[in-house]
Protein backbone atom coordinates (compact mmCIF):
# COMPACT_ATOMS: atom_id res chain seq x y z
CA UNK A 1 0.00 0.00 0.00
CA UNK A 2 0.93 3.64 -0.26
CA UNK A 3 3.29 5.06 2.32
CA UNK A 4 3.36 8.49 3.91
CA UNK A 5 3.56 11.20 1.29
CA UNK A 6 4.65 14.79 1.66
CA UNK A 7 4.43 17.80 -0.62
CA UNK A 8 6.17 19.68 -1.93
CA UNK A 9 9.41 17.71 -1.95
CA UNK A 10 11.39 20.93 -2.16
CA UNK A 11 10.42 24.48 -1.27
CA UNK A 12 12.52 27.59 -1.69
CA UNK A 13 11.14 30.77 -0.20
CA UNK A 14 12.23 34.24 0.73
CA UNK A 15 12.71 35.33 4.30
CA UNK A 16 9.49 36.72 5.73
CA UNK A 17 7.14 34.68 3.52
CA UNK A 18 4.68 32.09 4.86
CA UNK A 19 4.91 28.46 3.76
CA UNK A 20 2.61 25.45 4.05
CA UNK A 21 3.86 21.89 4.08
CA UNK A 22 1.51 18.99 3.56
CA UNK A 23 1.50 15.44 4.86
CA UNK A 24 -0.72 12.54 3.77
CA UNK A 25 -0.42 9.71 6.30
CA UNK A 26 -0.91 6.04 5.62
CA UNK A 27 -4.61 5.30 5.32
CA UNK A 28 -6.07 4.24 8.66
CA UNK A 29 -3.23 5.63 10.74
CA UNK A 30 -4.68 7.71 13.55
CA UNK A 31 -1.46 9.22 14.89
CA UNK A 32 0.57 11.74 12.91
CA UNK A 33 3.87 13.39 13.81
CA UNK A 34 5.99 16.22 12.49
CA UNK A 35 9.76 16.30 12.93
CA UNK A 36 12.48 18.61 11.66
CA UNK A 37 15.92 17.53 10.52
CA UNK A 38 18.56 20.22 10.35
CA UNK A 39 22.36 20.22 10.25
CA UNK A 40 22.87 21.88 13.58
CA UNK A 41 20.06 20.28 15.56
CA UNK A 42 19.66 16.78 14.17
CA UNK A 43 16.17 15.28 14.21
CA UNK A 44 13.72 17.09 16.48
CA UNK A 45 10.10 16.40 17.33
CA UNK A 46 7.69 19.24 16.57
CA UNK A 47 4.09 18.12 17.15
CA UNK A 48 1.93 15.03 17.48
CA UNK A 49 -1.71 14.52 16.45
CA UNK A 50 -4.09 11.86 17.64
CA UNK A 51 -7.01 12.16 15.29
CA UNK A 52 -7.54 15.88 14.77
CA UNK A 53 -6.32 16.98 18.17
CA UNK A 54 -2.73 17.76 19.14
CA UNK A 55 -2.00 16.52 22.66
CA UNK A 56 1.71 17.30 22.34
CA UNK A 57 2.89 20.53 20.73
CA UNK A 58 5.94 20.81 22.91
CA UNK A 59 8.43 20.76 20.06
CA UNK A 60 7.13 23.72 18.08
CA UNK A 61 10.04 26.19 18.21
CA UNK A 62 8.03 29.42 18.15
CA UNK A 63 4.55 30.81 17.65
CA UNK A 64 5.38 31.23 13.96
CA UNK A 65 4.88 27.47 13.65
CA UNK A 66 1.42 25.93 13.64
CA UNK A 67 -0.15 22.75 12.38
CA UNK A 68 -3.58 21.37 11.84
CA UNK A 69 -5.10 18.10 10.85
CA UNK A 70 -8.52 17.67 9.31
CA UNK A 71 -10.69 14.62 8.90
CA UNK A 72 -8.18 12.57 10.85
CA UNK A 73 -6.06 12.41 7.74
CA UNK A 74 -4.11 15.16 5.97
CA UNK A 75 -2.02 17.54 8.04
CA UNK A 76 -0.58 20.93 7.18
CA UNK A 77 2.40 22.50 8.90
CA UNK A 78 2.47 26.28 8.47
CA UNK A 79 5.47 28.47 9.10
CA UNK A 80 4.76 32.19 9.14
CA UNK A 81 7.31 34.90 8.46
CA UNK A 82 10.00 32.36 7.65
CA UNK A 83 13.54 32.91 8.89
CA UNK A 84 16.78 31.46 7.56
CA UNK A 85 17.09 29.23 10.61
CA UNK A 86 13.86 27.52 9.54
CA UNK A 87 15.76 25.92 6.65
CA UNK A 88 15.62 22.17 7.23
CA UNK A 89 14.00 18.97 6.07
CA UNK A 90 10.54 18.61 7.58
CA UNK A 91 9.53 15.00 8.11
CA UNK A 92 6.09 13.60 8.71
CA UNK A 93 5.37 10.19 10.22
CA UNK A 94 2.24 8.22 11.02
CA UNK A 95 1.46 5.23 13.17
CA UNK A 96 -1.48 2.87 13.34
CA UNK A 97 -4.18 2.82 16.01
CA UNK A 98 -4.16 0.44 18.93
CA UNK A 99 -1.83 -0.02 21.84
CA UNK A 100 0.54 -2.88 22.45
CA UNK A 101 -0.33 -3.99 25.96
CA UNK A 102 -1.25 -0.43 26.81
CA UNK A 103 2.25 0.88 26.09
CA UNK A 104 1.90 3.91 23.87
CA UNK A 105 5.54 4.03 23.00
CA UNK A 106 5.67 0.76 21.10
CA UNK A 107 3.83 1.99 18.01
CA UNK A 108 6.12 2.04 15.01
CA UNK A 109 6.26 5.34 13.16
CA UNK A 110 6.43 5.28 9.37
CA UNK A 111 8.15 8.25 7.82
CA UNK A 112 7.54 10.16 4.63
CA UNK A 113 10.35 11.35 2.32
CA UNK A 114 10.32 14.86 3.76
CA UNK A 115 10.06 18.40 2.46
CA UNK A 116 13.33 20.27 2.07
CA UNK A 117 12.71 23.91 2.96
CA UNK A 118 15.25 26.54 2.01
CA UNK A 119 14.75 30.09 3.23
CA UNK A 120 16.85 32.62 1.34
Amino acid sequence: GAGVSQSPSNKVTEKGKDVELRCDPISGHTALYWYRQSLGQGLEFLIYFQGNSAPDKSGLPSDRFSAERTGGSVSTLTIQRTQQEDSAVYLCASSPPGLAGGRLSTDTQYFGPGTRLTVL
Binding site: Y33, G42, Y48, P55, D56, R103, L104, S105, F111
Partner: protein
Amino acid sequence: AQSVTQLDSHVSVSEGTPVLLRCNYSSSYSPSLFWYVQHPNKGLQLLLKYTSAATLVKGINGFEAEFKKSETSFHLTKPSAHMSDAAEYFCVVSAGRRALTFGSGTRLQVQP
Protein backbone atom coordinates in the same frame (compact mmCIF):
# COMPACT_ATOMS: atom_id res chain seq x y z
CA ALA B 1 13.07 12.44 30.48
CA GLN B 2 14.70 10.42 27.76
CA SER B 3 17.83 10.79 25.70
CA VAL B 4 20.02 8.75 23.43
CA THR B 5 23.71 9.01 22.66
CA GLN B 6 25.32 7.58 19.56
CA LEU B 7 28.95 7.21 20.43
CA ASP B 8 30.39 7.47 16.91
CA SER B 9 29.48 10.09 14.33
CA HIS B 10 31.29 8.15 11.57
CA VAL B 11 32.16 4.48 11.20
CA SER B 12 34.11 3.07 8.27
CA VAL B 13 34.37 -0.67 7.57
CA SER B 14 35.47 -2.82 4.67
CA GLU B 15 32.93 -4.82 2.73
CA GLY B 16 32.48 -8.25 4.28
CA THR B 17 33.66 -7.21 7.76
CA PRO B 18 31.44 -6.82 10.85
CA VAL B 19 29.55 -3.63 11.66
CA LEU B 20 29.10 -2.22 15.17
CA LEU B 21 27.19 1.02 15.73
CA ARG B 22 27.02 2.01 19.37
CA CYS B 23 24.09 3.54 21.22
CA ASN B 24 23.44 4.35 24.87
CA TYR B 25 20.12 5.57 26.18
CA SER B 26 18.70 7.23 29.24
CA SER B 27 15.08 6.90 30.25
CA SER B 28 12.90 7.38 33.32
CA TYR B 29 10.51 4.75 32.04
CA SER B 30 10.90 1.33 30.56
CA PRO B 31 11.86 2.33 27.02
CA SER B 32 11.09 1.21 23.54
CA LEU B 33 14.17 1.44 21.35
CA PHE B 34 14.49 1.59 17.60
CA TRP B 35 17.12 1.77 14.91
CA TYR B 36 16.23 3.67 11.75
CA VAL B 37 18.33 3.96 8.59
CA GLN B 38 18.38 6.88 6.16
CA HIS B 39 19.91 6.42 2.74
CA PRO B 40 20.94 9.56 0.83
CA ASN B 41 17.90 11.56 -0.25
CA LYS B 42 15.58 8.88 1.05
CA GLY B 43 13.17 8.71 3.96
CA LEU B 44 13.77 7.05 7.30
CA GLN B 45 13.27 3.30 7.30
CA LEU B 46 12.78 1.17 10.39
CA LEU B 47 15.50 -1.46 10.80
CA LEU B 48 14.34 -3.00 14.06
CA LYS B 49 12.69 -2.24 17.38
CA TYR B 50 12.89 -3.45 20.97
CA THR B 51 9.70 -3.53 23.01
CA SER B 52 10.64 -5.82 25.93
CA ALA B 53 9.63 -9.09 24.30
CA ALA B 54 13.22 -10.28 23.75
CA THR B 55 16.55 -8.63 24.42
CA LEU B 56 18.10 -9.72 21.11
CA VAL B 57 16.18 -8.17 18.27
CA LYS B 58 16.58 -9.15 14.64
CA GLY B 59 15.82 -6.64 11.93
CA ILE B 60 15.90 -6.33 8.19
CA ASN B 61 18.95 -6.78 5.97
CA GLY B 62 20.80 -8.94 8.50
CA PHE B 63 21.01 -6.31 11.24
CA GLU B 64 20.39 -7.07 14.88
CA ALA B 65 20.63 -5.27 18.20
CA GLU B 66 20.87 -6.36 21.80
CA PHE B 67 19.16 -4.52 24.64
CA LYS B 68 21.39 -4.49 27.73
CA LYS B 69 19.62 -2.85 30.64
CA SER B 70 22.62 -3.01 32.96
CA GLU B 71 24.69 -1.08 30.42
CA THR B 72 21.79 1.05 29.11
CA SER B 73 22.96 0.13 25.64
CA PHE B 74 21.32 -0.90 22.38
CA HIS B 75 24.18 -1.45 19.94
CA LEU B 76 23.48 -2.34 16.31
CA THR B 77 25.48 -5.08 14.64
CA LYS B 78 25.77 -6.94 11.36
CA PRO B 79 28.17 -9.83 10.75
CA SER B 80 29.18 -8.82 7.23
CA ALA B 81 28.86 -5.35 5.70
CA HIS B 82 27.59 -4.82 2.20
CA MET B 83 28.15 -1.78 0.03
CA SER B 84 24.43 -1.07 0.12
CA ASP B 85 24.62 -0.64 3.92
CA ALA B 86 26.32 2.74 3.50
CA ALA B 87 23.87 5.21 5.04
CA GLU B 88 23.13 7.17 8.18
CA TYR B 89 21.81 5.22 11.15
CA PHE B 90 19.76 6.65 13.99
CA CYS B 91 19.21 5.14 17.41
CA VAL B 92 15.84 6.22 18.77
CA VAL B 93 14.12 5.99 22.15
CA SER B 94 10.50 6.34 23.12
CA ALA B 95 9.41 6.16 26.74
CA GLY B 96 6.30 7.50 28.34
CA ARG B 97 5.38 9.72 25.44
CA ARG B 98 4.52 9.28 21.79
CA ALA B 99 7.29 11.46 20.37
CA LEU B 100 10.53 9.79 19.39
CA THR B 101 13.87 11.09 20.60
CA PHE B 102 16.61 10.60 18.03
CA GLY B 103 20.33 10.22 18.50
CA SER B 104 22.64 12.41 16.48
CA GLY B 105 23.23 9.69 13.90
CA THR B 106 26.15 7.56 12.77
CA ARG B 107 27.29 7.71 9.19
CA LEU B 108 28.41 4.27 8.02
CA GLN B 109 30.93 4.08 5.17
CA VAL B 110 31.61 0.74 3.51
CA GLN B 111 34.88 0.48 1.63
CA PRO B 112 35.24 -1.98 -1.26
